[in-house]
Structures are given as C-alpha cells and as structure tokens.
Symmetry: T
Subunit: 141 residues, 12 copies
C-alpha cells in the first residue's frame, strides 16, 4: 500500500512561518513520526511551491498509488488546474488543511478542489494528516 502526502506552497516553511497559526514543528520531523505510526503503509512525501509540479506529481502517482493526502495550501483557493488533475487520475485524494480555514480570511473559505476529493479534514492541526492516513489505510486494506 503506497500513500503520498503532497504539500503545496509555503508548507516547506512549517515551523518557521506564523507559529501561532501553524505550530512550530517542521514537517520533516512530523513525517518521521507518521511513518512510525503507519508502519503498514509505504508513505512518501513531496512538497512544491510550483502549481504545475503539484500537477505533475498527481499525474505521476495517480494511476498506481493507493491514496493521496493533499494539502494544496493557497492553490486550494485559486487552481482550476489542480481540480482538473484530481478529476483526471484514479487514486483517491483526501484534502487536508492544518488550520480551520473557515475561521480565517474570507478568501480561504472557498476551495476549488474539494468537489473532486473524497472528503475534507480541516482545523485539527498536523493531526489532520494522521486522520486522513487512518481513513485511507482502512479503506484500502
């Protein structure tokens, strides 16, 4: 069972960026912990600030992996192209956000991609990635 965690723009700064919103753990450390908790699955991690590289990665794994956990960051609110890429692949995608986007600025309330995902988990901090993995693990077992 192969699952990719795919992070979008500015998430490489996790731990450095607005720690009151996003916490101060960097994602690589967190990813190490996740791998320990989900030993039954092969977990992969990829991050990019380039919209098109996120699409490339979705295409690359989207016909062979068992699941994708996607936090598209700010592209969530502007990218029809990622919406289309999710609709074009076979692998199920779960959308995750660290913060509760509906409790922040108005422009973060609209997601262009949720309609093509299985579902959305938002507001539970980094724990949201674990919830998504747990769901995908159960489902694909």
């Amino acid at each position: 069972m192969k699952i990719l965690i795919l992070n979008g723009p500015n998430l490489n700064l996790l731990g450095k960026r607005e720690p009151d919103v996003y916490g101060n753990m960097d994602f690589e450390s967190f990813f190490g912990k996740l791998k320990e908790s989900f030993k039954g699955a092969d977990l992969y991690y990829y991050q990019s600030n380039v919209e098109g590289e996120i699409i490339n990665k979705l295409h690359e794994v989207g016909f062979s992996y068992n699941g994708i956990v996607l936090n598209a960051g700010a592209y969530t609110h502007t990218s029809v192209a990622i919406h289309d890429a999710i609709g074009a692949i076979k692998t199920p995608v779960v959308e995750v956000h660290i913060s509760n986007v509906y409790a922040r600025e108005e422009f973060r309330h609209k997601s262009l991609i949720t309609s093509k995902c299985i579902g959305l988990i938002t507001g539970f901090g980094l724990e949201g990635y674990a919830m998504a993995l747990a769901y995908l693990s159960n489902k694909t077992n």
Copy 2:
C-alpha cells in the same frame, strides 16, 4: 469523559432517505457500533428536527461535557443561532457531514457554523463520526 453526538434535521431518516447519498444503515445501529469501539468514553446521542432544541441541547451539555460531534444537517447552511450557541459554550465542537457537501448543490457549500468549531470532517460517510470521536478522545485524554 462524556461526548455527545448531536444530529440535526432529517438525520432521523438515515437508512430510509436517499440511500445512494447517505447509505442504508440507520443511525441507532451505527451508534451501537460506535459505543463498542469507543469504550473509554461515555457516548450520548441526541437528534432533533427543531433548530431551537439543538440549541437547548448545546446549552445543556456545553459547560460539562468533554466534546460534541455535531452534524447540523440543513441548519448548517442557514442558522446564525446555532453559530452563536457554539460560540457561547465551553465544550469543543467538531463538525461532521456524511456526504461531501462541496460535491453537491451550491447552497450546501456554505457553512455558517464551521468558524466556531474546532474543525470540519466532510465526505467520509458515517466513518466521519468515528474520526471526530477519535480526535476528541485523544485530545481530552
């Protein structure tokens, strides 16, 4: 540890209503299963079709329980009063929807209550309730 599952309008028809959208298990049976899985917590269940009774229940448990899992059904999209009730109580609330509301009619894309909840879980079927309970159990342990 006391946790309430609180369901809003029309969710009493689960299993009878649009089974292609909501599945065909009634909620009481599902609740029995949940109680078996979460033996460390006292789970309670309440459902009402009346907006004001949902508010009454939030007030009743909202200063003593450890968590509330709320699926406000259609009132999600129209009730400022439930938004205010969640903001007025102390107990943390997790919002759940069975279907992916963002893949359905436009008027279901707007939630008036998410901003006052910890977070939102939508699209994972009944499994979403279990995800919310797992989160609240961890948090309050």
Copy 3:
C-alpha cells in the same frame, strides 16, 4: 386515500391577519368546506409555527399518505431543512400560496422548496388549496 393539508407559520391567524392580502375567512371554516367538496378523500389538517414540527409531520405522514398540500408560509423562503425533508419522503407534495408571492416583496420571490415539490400553485386565494386537492385526487385515483 389520505391527504394532509400542512400550513406553516402565521397561517393560524388567517382571517385576523392583513385581511386585504389574505381574506377574512379563518382556515378551520374553510377546511370544513373542503371536506364537503372532497368526500372521496380523507382530509387531515395540521398547522405549526415551528419549522421542526413541520418536518416532523412530513416524516410522520410521508411514507403512508397519498398526498400533501403544503403552504410553508415564510419558511418557504428560508428553509433548506424543509427542502430536504420533502426530498427525503415518498408522498408527493404540492406547494400552495394564497397570495401571488411574485407580486409582493422581493424576498418572497425565492422559494427554496419548489424544486422538490411536484408543482406550485400561487395567487388564487384559498381556491388554491382546492386546486391542489383536485390534482392529487385525480392523480392518486
């Protein structure tokens, strides 16, 4: 053949309220006349000012009665929950309004529920209830 006439908020004041808009006959008297005209059907009447009680009643009769004539009053313009309730039951529903709602204030021009009903009859005064009953009688005979 069982048919329910279901009236929403403020319709209990019929005859007392804005008689230039709604006439000055109270609904109970009118219902007596209707029963005489439609002797082939068992007619029932229920009125409530509480949105959730209207939903409760729709659930209660909506899997066994042959038809429902619904005047949801002001909830017509605000209730997604009643929209969902009509979509969740089996009994066909005909929407009726006494006045021509499109000739009144702008906010009365939008109905949230018509799309889940068989059809809409508006503007014909109390006669509209009789037209709806005539349609349902023919259909269910």
Copy 4:
C-alpha cells in the same frame, strides 16, 4: 364566456421536443380534449414564436375575453414587454408552465411576468391548463 389559451415559443413542437420533459402529446390533440371537458366556455388557441405577436394577441383579446391562460415559454424569463402588455389589458391572465421550472436550470427560476398575472400554476404537466381553465370558469361564472 370566451377564454384564450396562448402559447409562446417552441410550444408548437410539443410532442416532438424533449418528450421526457414535456411528454409526447401534441398540443392540438390535447386542446381537442380540453374543449370537450369545458363545454360551457368558448375556448380559443393561439401559438406564436414571435414575442410581438404574443403582445398583439394579448391586446386583441384583452379588452373583451373573460380570461387568458398564458404559457409564455422562454419569453417568461426575458420579456418586459409581455409583462407590460399584461399590465395594460383588462382580461385576467393565469400563467401556466408544463414542467416544474424551479426544478430546472437556474435561469428558468425567474419569471418577469408572474407579478402581473392573477397567479401561477407550474409543474403539473398539461393538466395545468385544465386547472387554469377550471379556475377561470368558476371565477367568471
């Protein structure tokens, strides 16, 4: 007692056009049946695809006939001129649509003409014309 049934654009294709929406009976046959059912009234029928010819006909009969049953088709959603014509004549007009226009595309939810009619009957198939005639017969008797 003279009553005109006035149909707008594309209704001449009834029976040929989208039969799942509009049924497969042509209007002339249906009109024959209507005349048998309403022997106490002189029924007339006119159809045009030209907005201005519908206005001409409203002017022609609108000061002498006892009633008009109008299905303005697509002009319902765009014609201020027909709205004005109904407002300018004396004969009462009942608006009819065959399908439930509120359960179709968004742009069919707005009627520019209802506010000048006595009332609206929508969603009951061809039966809607009979309901309108019944109402006008009672009223003008």
Copy 5:
C-alpha cells in the same frame, strides 16, 4: 427634412393603458398636433410590438432620413439588437420616454440603447416628443 417617430411595444394602447401613468390621449391624435407644430419637417409615424420590425424600420429609414425619435418601450431594457441597429445606421436617434423611468420599477432604470443615441429625454410626458423634434429640427436645419 424627414423625421420618423418610432414607438415600440404597448404604445399603441396609449390612452387606454394605465392613464395615470401615460395620460389618456391616444398617440394618433397627438401626432396630428405635432404635425401642425412642426410644419417645416415631414413627420412620419410607425409603431410595432415586434422587436424585429422596429429593427427593420430603423434600417429602412436610417440611411436617408434626417432624424429618428425612438421610444422603444419595454425593449429599451432588454434589446441588444436595437442597440446594435442604432449603432449600424447613419441617422441620428433621440431616445424618448413618456414617464420618468427612473421613478418607476428598478428594472426600468437600465437602458441598453441610450449609449448609441445622441441623447435621452425622459419624464416630460408627450411633450418629450416635441422637445426631441425641436432639437432635431434645429440641428438638421
């Protein structure tokens, strides 16, 4: 010097239609008076309820007449085609409305055609036609 007065839908009912808004003189009588006042010009009059016939008439006279006084009635608010027709011809067009359209319903506040006319005169009753003629006479003299 040839000038056409061109009236749109429902203006043939002048004198019969809503006399409190439009007065009770029919347009033919008024046109007789206008001809007496403007003896230096050849005045013509045409009215149609058909949008396309108004366009036909604009084309017919729009390359030879010296001026057109246009009251497009309700088509003022909906017709891009008349807007285009005025833009396509050579003869200058003055837009006239009898009533003050900005003191009536919201939908009458928007004119699609004024931008292609020389100017607009609205609210002065039938006197508006004379004001337009006076302007065109001066200009083309």
Copy 6:
C-alpha cells in the same frame, strides 16, 4: 398596561456567554430591577431558543398587550417568519439589541424584522431594554 419582554436564542445564557460582549449580569436579575423601575406597568418576560415559540408568543399577546420589547437574537438576521408575525399582530413592537450589531460581524448588520417594528435601539447594553420600556410607557399612557 401590559408589556412583554421577549428574548430569542442564546439570551438565556446572559451572564455566562461572552461577558466582554454581553456583560455578566443574568437577565432574570436585571428583569427584577426593571420591574422596580417601571412600577406603573405590568411587565412579563419570556425567552425561547425556538423560532416558532417566539411566533406563538407574539400571537398570544399581540392582540391584547400594550407593547412588546423584542430582542430576537440571531433570528433577527434570518427569520422572515418573525417579520411576518410582527406584521400580523396589533401590539406595537420595539426591537432591542444589547451590543452594537453594526460594530460586529457583517452578517449581523442586516435585520429582517426592523421594518415591521416601530423602531430599533441597539448598542446601549441592557440599558436598551429600559429605553424601550420608557418609550412604550409614555406612548401608551
């Protein structure tokens, strides 16, 4: 002289709920003080979280009492039904809000009910109820 103070959803939590916005006195204590200040009038108090029960109460007292002071809470912004209920009764209604709703979230700036009330008093804390009572006392004396 009978006057009812009618409070809507979440106002039963006064004193417990967001004390920086609403203060920390519970309404029952405040009501005791009011009764002392307005000894010339019979004051009554009713609170409900159920929209329909607020309507029931308006109907119950709305043809015999001398005045109603209404704080409809969150229903202020969503309830056409309460708007209609106020329009249907005879007793004059004064709308009160404790906080300055125009200095809070955008969705609290729109009131659906003010147009049917005599007037609105907002932003003066609990003092607003006294101001409303003073107005009604003077008026009905």
Copy 7:
C-alpha cells in the same frame, strides 16, 4: 416667473476642461445668450463645488421659484442628500447633463437624483439647458 440654473462641481471650468467632451464655451457667455432667448422669464445662475451649498441653494429658492434646471455634475452619482433636498422642496426640478452620461464610464450611468426630478435631458450639449427652460416656461405659463 423665476427660474434658477444650478450647476454642480467642476462646471465652473466649462470651456477649459476636456473641451472634446464639454465644448469650449464658458458657461457665463452661454448664460448671456440664454437670457436673451428667454426674455419672458427671470433667469438666475448659481454654481458651487460644495455639495452642501447646492443643497442650501435648493432650499433657498425651492419654495418660491417656478423652476430649477439642475446639472449636479459628479454629485449626481453619489449624493443621497441632494436627492432628499429635491424631494423636500416644492419647486419642480429638471435634471440636465451636457454629455450623454450613458455613453461614458459605467459609474456615470447611475443617477441618484432623477427619481425626484420631473425628468432628465442628457446628451444634447449646452442645448439641453435651453430645452429644459423651454419645458419649464411652457409649464409654468
């Protein structure tokens, strides 16, 4: 018979300002010509760039003069206060614009004041003032 011509902001620059839009005659010279043409009336002229001074002038003459020709310039599109002032006085007001405001920027298409004037004349250059005076002269004779 006393008639005031009242010009709003920037119209003092006439002749200097954007001559391709407004021509190159200054208003004082033009006013001299007008007085010669309308010898039967006492004509007055006032211009101000201050919104409140325009209101002051409307109040000052609005209960004794026979007519006002108002070109409120840019305040046309933003001033509710001038709208109210016109509604508060007795003297009839005719609105004039030199250019065809509907053929210019979008924000000039909306007039806040026309609904309180007798009518509007726009697009005829300085000639529009003469047309307005002619109308007022006829009317008040």
Copy 8:
C-alpha cells in the same frame, strides 16, 4: 456636562419637509422643549448641509464635550469621512434617526457610521433625541 445635538442635511427643513414622514414641528421649537427637560445639562445645537462642516464641528467639540447626538441625515449612507471623524474623536456619539430608516427605501438601510457610534436609535420620531440625551446624561453623570 455639555452635550451637542448635531443635525445633517435637510433637517433644517423639519416641519416643512414631508410632514407625513417627519412630522410638522420645526427643530428649534423642539430644541426649546428639550432644554427644559434636560436642565442638568448644557445643550447645544448645530445644523449644516455641508458634510465637511459636520466634520469640523465633530473635531471642535469632540475632545471636550461629554456627548454628541448625531443625526447625519443622508450623509449617514454615503460618508466615510464622518465615519472616520467619529473614530478620531474622544466624545461618545449616539446616532439618531427620526423615521424608521429600515422601513423606507433600500438605500437608507445601510449606515456607514453606526459602527463608530455607541449605539443607534431609529424610528421613534423626535422622541429619539430625548432618548439619546437621557442615555448620555445617565452615563456621564
């Protein structure tokens, strides 16, 4: 204790202007009565039709007076500058309107200044000024 009553555009016409909306007492007479009722306070009155003069006055008294009762008239709906002026001074401001602005035209429903005032009193006629004074007197005592 010094309190200013500050009135905006057209309120100098009180008693002459639309008496069915505003009553027929002029403000000066009413102010005389107010001074008698509030002998414990030094009351001042200022009215201007000029937006900037209202701002000047707010600046002039806004660091030394104990309260301001402001009826900004039509500037209520258009003036960001008055909004800023109230936010810039120290003296508390109470907003008053004579009529119930929410029962009038749509454009009067939006106030740009309430969010910077303590509160709003609307719909109680001239009595509203007295209510505001009573509130300010109590508060500053």
Copy 9:
C-alpha cells in the same frame, strides 16, 4: 447534404455597418463564393431581424437538414427562446461570430446559446462561416 446558414439581427447590413469591425463585403456576395467552394453540399441562406422568425426557421429545417451555421447576432446575448429552439431540434448547430466578441463590450461576452450548439467559432471574420461549413461537411459525410 443540406446546410442552412442562418443570420440574425443587423447582419443584413453587412458591408454597410461598422466596416472596421465587420468588413465591407455584403453577405450575399460572400454567400455566392461559399457555394462555389462547397459544391458537394446544398447551401441555403436565411436572415431575419425577428427573433421568432429565427425560431420558426430552426423548427422548419431542424428535423431534416444536415447542419445549421447560426450567427444569432445580438440575440446571442439575450434569447433563452433560441437556446430552447436549438435544444428542441435534431440538426446539429455550429455558432459563428464574425468579430472576436470577447474583445468587445462586456455584454457580448455572455452567450446564452453556445451550450446547446456543437461548438463556437468567433473572431475569424467571414472565414468563420467557411470553417463551420468545412466541419459540418466532414462530419456529415
């Protein structure tokens, strides 16, 4: 193989109207050339300024011809009725515009009819008609 070229309002003026936008060849001459280029097909041409006559023609040929090339002119932006007519017939329709409508006024950016056509060709001048014919010839061969 029968193909109709159907032109809407003002296209009869081609060659005379705004030659910088539409060129200066009249359509009849161009149609002669088209017939020479497409000898394998029977080409027909019809133009009308009347919306309803365009609908009539669509009905007349829409169940027997092999293709229709439609330039609906200004009705493109306003006609729900033509939208419905295309949806009601069997013959495939290709939409053509001579100019690039998206590089012109905002109101020309919205087409009500494209969704019912096979496709749209816009901006290639008269060549667009040839492109549409080439497509239809290939397809129906």
Copy 10:
C-alpha cells in the same frame, strides 16, 4: 512557415483522462496525423503543466513563428499572466478547446485570454486544432 501547438495543464493525459469528454486518442498520435495533413508548414508541439513555462514558450517563439495554436486548459480561466504574455508578443494566437466549454461547469465559461487572441474555436474535439491550423496557414500564406 512555423506554427507551434501549445497545450496546457492535464492535456498530457489525453486518451487516459475522462475519455467521454476528451476522447481516447493521445495527443502525440494525433500530432503525427496533423503533420501529415499540413506538410506545407513546420509544426511544433509543446505541453506543460506549469503556467510559467507556457509563458516562457510564448516568449521564445512569439517574435519569430508565424502562428500559435493555444489550448491553455484550466489556466484559460485563471491566468492573467498568459493573457499578458499573448498581448506582449507579435505572433498571432488562436485559442482552441477540445470540449464545448460553455456546455460544462459555470467556471469554464469565462476565458481570461480570448480577448488577446485572434479568435476562439471550441467544441469540435481534436478537429479544432486542424481548423486553427487551416486558418493560420491560409492567413500567413
């Protein structure tokens, strides 16, 4: 004569992605066929999922090639930067879409780039690329 076909995001999946919408031929095979049909021109092909790489390519060929056929995929609806790039180069660009974008989701109806292209061809399947090439070949010959 050099012509570039430039495809945007997700078009590399052609043949694999939603075959009912886009057909099941991959673009490389189709491009081979195109080269055979257009032997008189040097055809080039480039695809990228990265918005900025599409801009880079437009810059690279946009001052020397004779034409560009651009299918910008989802960036069509969101990219002001591609709009600007087309406006900044010399080579003419023809916009192509495989499906009829106006018959799909609302957000695909708006193109940000058409106004800078010569024209648009949408809805004709892969054939649309050939139509664009034919046009460019004729034009640049």
Copy 11:
C-alpha cells in the same frame, strides 16, 4: 517650482487621531521639516474637511503649479467629483496615503481617484509625502 500638498478630511487631527495608525507628529511640524529638505521648491500646504473646498483648491492651483501631492483621506473612496477635478486640471497629481490602505477595512481598498493621478504611494507613513515631492521635483526640474 511650486508644489502644493493638499490634505483631505480628518488629516488636521494628525498626531491626535489614532496614533497607532497615523503616528503622533502633527502635520504642521512635519511640513516644516519637508520645507527644509526641499529647499529648491516652493512648498504650500492646504487642508480642508470640505470636499468642495478641495475641488476649489485643485482648480485654483491646477493651471499654474508644477505639482500637487494629494491625500484625499476618506473622500478617496467616495468622491467622483474630486476624480473629475483632477481630470479637468493640467498640473500633475500624485496620490499619497500615510497608512497601507489595503491592509485596513475593505471599503478603503477602492480608490475613485487613482486613475486620474500619475501614481499612488501608500503605506510608507509621512515618508510618503517626501517620496512624492522627490518624484515631482525630479520630474519638473
């Protein structure tokens, strides 16, 4: 070389008003410093809270001075008249704001006047005036 610094409403309170937003130096002191720094130019300063007086000043200097630095304060967001005044004069105008208006309330994000200015400098505190003067000095040297 003559340059005017022109400040709009409430800027006379600089140093007293919201010092966290605007700092606590009064403008006169700052102006003294500016004059020292820009000895090569004749600097003038004018402030008014009256919209029309700002227009008067623009007219007065706008045909002879070499530059104007304009901070129109709140009128920036509401004044078409100042927009027109800038467009009517010859002297170049540079728009300055002390705070970053785009980081404040939504209604401050829209400027009605920038389009008629050379450019805009916002967010640099009082330093912004110096930047504008530096630009104008260079330009007019």
Copy 12:
C-alpha cells in the same frame, strides 16, 4: 545591506513589450543604472515567469536580506500563494508597478498582495524601483 529586486511574469520582455505602456528600456540596463545610484547597498536582481519560483526566491532571501522590491506582474491579481509567502517571511517587501494599474483594465485594480507588503508604489515608471530602494535604504540604515 542586501536588497533584492524581484520581477514577475512578462517583465523579462521590458523594452520589447507594449513600449507605449512600459517604455523601451530593458530591465538589465536599468538595473545597471540603479546599482550606480545605490552604491551603499548590495543589489540583486531575479526574474521569473513561474509563480512557484517567485515563492522559492522569497523564501530563500526572506530571512536574511534587508529588503525586497517586488513587482509581481500579473500574479499580483491572482496569487494567494505569493500573498502567503510574503506573510511567512521576515524581510520587508515593497510592492512596485511600472504603470498606473488603476488607470488600466478593471481586473488590474485588485491586488491580492499589497496587504502583506509595507506599501505600494504604482504609476511612476521605472522610477518606482528607485523610490522603493530609497525608502528601504533609509529604513535599514
């Protein structure tokens, strides 16, 4: 002191692209001049057409450089991701545009990034970069 000038899409074409809007000097030449004028600072220059590469660069220098001058070109109007990147770094950012974006197309009037920058300088041509550098030099000295 290290300062980066960061240019977005299409700015590499400066000097070649629309010279009437952007002038005809290429940016590299201009950058040479800037370095001469600002010898006290280490100036760096980077341009990319790829949104994600602009974000990468902001991250790379955003915790060590003393200032960034950012002209995000068309991404200004569409990129939430750049908005977030500026908010996530420590280095102060000044936004610059060469042309006056508010005097161009409507879609250029909205900037998504200004709220996270210190301030904005727009409309002063290439000089704007120098103004930004001067500001940053002063500030960080």
